[in-house]
Amino acid sequence: MVRKPGNLSRLLRTLGIVVMAAVLVIPAVAFAADTPRRPNIVIILGDDLGFADMSAFGSEIKTPHLDSLAKDGVRFTNFYTNASCSPTRSVLLSGVDMHQNGLGNMDEFTAPNQWGVDGYEGVLNDRVATLPQLLKDAGYHTYMVGKWHLGKKPEQIPAARGFERDFSLLDGAGSYWDMTNFTAAAPKSVFTEDGKYLTRLPDDYYATKTYTDKLISFIEAGRADGKPFFAYVSHQAPHDPLHLPQDWRNRHVGEYDKGWDAVRQERLQRQIELGIMPAGTKLAERMWFIPDPIVLAPATRAILGKKMELYAGMVENLDFHVGRLIDYLKKTGQYDNTIFLVFGDNGAEGTDLFKMIAGTPGTRDFLFAAINWSQTHPNAWGDPGNYVGYGPMWAQVSMTPFSQYKGWVSEGGIHNALIVSGPGVTRPKGSINSGIMHVADIMPTLLEIAGASYPKTYQGRELPALYGKSWGPVLAGKAESPRTEQDYLAWELFGNRAVRQGEWKLRWLYKPLGKGEWELFNLAADPAERKDLAAERPDKVKALIALWDDYVKTNGVILPSRSPFETLDDQLPKRVPDDPGYPPLIYKKQFVPPRDMVADPKP
């Protein structure tokens, strides 16, 4: 029998297809085969969740499910993010410093001198590879639910940046109940699901619940092939507006009437008892424009306390839905092979965002707010159409014992709680570590856990260097910190800047929260940044400024020509020291004379 040339050609083509198919299939088979050795990864990100908001970090807010992760894993007490959300998220997903990855400034506040400059695109730029892209290439399923805030164009959305499945809010915030956003220019929040822009939200939508429902459905749908998954659970909660279902609003009625000072003191006491903070830690000063709650009327404390009641409810609701995810993973036998990372994306929110957004009477956005966000009655707090935040006094509580809050590079803006649990964590369960960690470390850490590595190039582009360091040795108990005493971390946002090396921190903040000049703190002795040592230690200031200069040069930092804080000094009351008990006038109590010296007037 003589084969015809055409038959041979077909045979070869067939063989070629088979070989190619085998080449494509084998890695997947191989990954599937080693699934037990490669853990699933779940990152639970709380938006504006404060350092002290979980029970495991000293809060009175009940977070049993998050605490269970802490009990199974390790709590880290020296974990740093950036001072606001999109810069932190960009670093989390790229491993590259924010000034290189496109979020050199928040998109909403990019300064004129930063416009058009690489690293300041306001979106996660295409010069970086993302964690989901690299994990997907390594054989992981990649899922995302929740807030994205890293770009809205088709090439910028989660589906384009490595997530196989997603249900995402592309905006930085919005209603938890519907698609209502904050301004007349951008009245609707933008959502995507699996790469498609949504025209409406699912029935019975509530952000935290729906995100959890979607994620569980993604994991369940992808479970059959045995591949591990990476899930980025980017919760909107507890970012304001403090929207939450009715039955979660009244779980702490009256508990916060005692005021922010008392709650901060109680949290600090628990932190010391838990070992989160060392004995002797002092609270940061109450910000000078916040009154001492004990001089306020009961009604004032009640109305302000109600804001914190709602916030606590939001955190507990968040914890409840995290519990649903944990339960699902346990029931499906996936929990033991899942590594969890839990943290907040920046300090708690102390700025009145709604006032910024809604503008003043007569403006376009004020009119929009009058129509869409005017349910201001306290009994409407939590409902659609209501925007309430909890204010700087409670933000300081969330950031106990630290100074200030989100947007600032004081510890209260960048120092957050971190829980890591699951495979690869061989430190004693429930232990606490004080190594200096950074959100940029997560990329190399998770690539290492996934058995992947950070490539030099991606899709033909040379990648910038990673900013962080793997936590592998720390999680394995072989090191106490990923950083040496010589390593440093630095931050810049809105013109505020800081650098930390070892126990020393140098910071420059706009007045009046800062001095408009460098301040020096020893964080080991003074984690609350109460005592400026710049005048006493000029040598240390000089050394840290040199590190700052290195950071600027290495990462292309451009200090903004405009800042949301540039006029703050004219808006806030003149800064005065926080001296407890001053002025004595308002603290003096009724004099009660000795009983034996009391008499009626003589006739």
Binding site: F289, I290, A299, T300, I303, T351, D352, Q571
Partner: protein
Amino acid sequence: MKNKVSPMNLVVWLRLVVATMLAIGVLCPPEALAQTPARFYWKTLSDANAVPVIVQSFSGNTNPFDSAHTVTPGASFDATMALAGYARTFSLFDRAAMGAIIVPMGRISGEVTVAGRTFNKSANGFGDPMLEFNINILGPPAQKNIPDVMRYEPGFSLDLLVDLALPIGEYDSDQPLNIGQNRWYGRLGMPIIWQLGPWVPGRRTTLEFLPAVWFFGDNDDYVGQKMKTDPMYQLDAHLTRDLTEHFWGSLDATWYYGGKATINGVSGEKRNDFGVGLTLGYQVTDNLNLTFGYKSTLNDNAPGDLQMDVFTVSLVYGWHPLVEGMRRLKGGE
């Protein structure tokens, strides 16, 4: 960026407290002695005060000053009536309570047939003052301070109500038609408020009931005769809804059963009457509340049926020393 603390906008809370005071019925005495309007038993801050002035225009076959609504078949009355009173809220055993006195006054005229004789009569003057005591027995605790006001939501509330009329109103035993009733009478009731949905001004909705029983003493000198009246059962129902933060409306229904009157051993018909109505309320100022209502009986064509329609306009002025003081301080800024 504004970091300034706005600890509490006192004006907002001042308005909230006063609005609550005015919105609640405890400061809005009944448009007729036997009937209470919607939102009558809402609760407010303890130690609040109110003076109501309520003007009503009646037409029908019963004397509106008579809580028993004794029907006089074939009679026709027109009456203009005013009620003035004073109410004060207080806390008793940590429960919300209220005491009030309401004095009816006005004039009535019409044709009355008694024992086969027809009279064209009229009467005027002060009626029988009524004392009222109400205490909540199931529901939120008393609102003893502004934080309590802030957190108040009725949910499902049940009260105990006691009314007692004092027979000191103007009465002429020679006349079949009087403003005073010349007898003791009173009521036991259990006002119910059932909150439907959120308790947010502008969105509040309630379903309210007042089951009650009226007891009447004998009038030993009713045109020289003795009049006995059986107990009468009453059920008021209201579906109320905020239309805006300061404007609300309600659909009202009333049912009476019993109350058979016997004059010198001759019994009349017992009541079994049903009426419906509408009430609109508006908060004019922080202290002043205005309501307008209309109510009319249904299926009232038979001779013994109660026939009555009522227009009601009420003005209620409410105040609380704490709130007034806060207002003065605020005004002095």
